[in-house]
């Protein structure tokens, strides 16, 4: 599969930056606006899948192979667990909020939820990318 036609490639070039920016804004800012990290992770994975469909799977899968994406997902899953362990040490119970809440509606206003939101989003993005890319490169 060598990608799509020229209009589809041009449209992908235009649309990919807003799509990725929307995904990043969801997982960096979503806990104080309107959506949690799951949607952000799926949006990032879908944007990269759009690139894969438009430009062919060879280049992107070579750079972001499924083992690498799964390794990134595992690292951020371990980061989520580490946040839970820090909750035991400083807050008293597993996964408890130990950072304290600042002023409302600010970026660092919700303690540990910001970091666990980032970890959740990247675990979802890495897992879905590993799944999709390994399914796409299944039939040579």
């Amino acid at each position: 599969m060598n990608g799509m036609s020229l209009p589809a490639r041009t449209f992908t070039r235009i649309i990919i930056v807003p799509v990725l920016a929307f995904g990043f804004s969801l997982f960096l800012h979503g806990h104080i606006s309107y959506s949690a990290g799951f949607a952000g992770g799926v949006i990032i994975a879908l944007g990269l899948m759009l690139v894969m469909l438009a430009f062919g799977k060879n280049e992107l899968v070579k750079r972001l192979a499924p083992p690498r994406a799964a390794a990134a997902a595992g690292i951020f899953l371990a980061f989520f667990l580490l946040l839970g362990m820090l909750g035991i040490v400083y807050g008293g119970s597993f996964l408890s909020g130990f950072l304290g809440t600042g002023r409302h509606y600010e970026l660092f206003s919700s303690g540990v939820i910001l970091f666990s939101n980032i970890a959740l989003c990247l675990v979802v993005a890495g897992s879905l990318l590993a799944l999709l890319f390994s399914l796409a490169s299944y039939r040579k």
């Binding site: 959506s35 949690a36 799964a70 595992g74 899953l77 909020g97 809440t101 919700s110 979802v124 897992s127």
Partner: protein, 170 residues
């Protein structure tokens, strides 16, 4: 309320089309139409977070299903069978009988039986510090559930990777 009932009728119609369509691509598109109508229902019920998630997951599922079915253009073989038709009819009637009894016992819409969710809604802004109640519940009060969910997703990705890897080698 009537718009929700119209959307639910659309969902039922799309589901019947998805079962009865002759080729697989039509039924995949009908399934996607049902999913988008459900997302609109959540938007009307003032749950935009859930609507966003369902929209995105429907797009993902539509892409995967079309990728899986657009080459195998095999029509579903449906022949009329008297025994299975009668069985389906009997079980559908039984289900409707039981469901009509069960629906009468449900609590009124908007007044749930579970009282601890009200505490999450009331204390979420103060305790967790996020104005987004969904994020406060998913990552604060119910963080165990989120941890289990993303662990399951990670394990699914690892399993698919392992299966496809082994098939390539042999």
């Amino acid at each position: 309320m009537t718009s929700i009932q119209l959307l639910l009728a659309l969902v039922l119609f799309a589901a019947i089309i998805a079962v009865e369509a002759k080729d697989l691509v039509s039924s995949v598109i009908a399934i996607a139409a049902a999913g988008f109508a459900i997302a609109l229902c959540f938007l009307i019920l003032k749950a935009p977070d859930l609507a966003v998630v369902i929209l995105i997951v429907e797009v993902l599922a539509l892409t995967l299903f079309i990728h899986a079915t657009h080459r195998t253009d095999s029509p579903a073989a449906t022949t009329f069978d008297l025994f299975s038709s009668i069985t389906v009819l009997v079980f559908a009637l039984l289900f409707l009988l039981v469901a009509s009894r069960a629906v009468a016992d449900l609590p009124t819409f908007g007044y749930p039986l579970a009282k601890n969710a009200a505490a999450h809604v009331d204390e979420g802004f103060g305790t967790a510090g996020t104005p987004n109640i969904v994020a406060a519940t998913a990552l604060g009060f119910r963080a165990y559930d989120t941890l289990g969910g993303i662990t399951a997703l990670f394990l699914v990705a690892l399993g698919v990777m392992m299966l496809t890897e082994r098939r390539e080698r042999s």
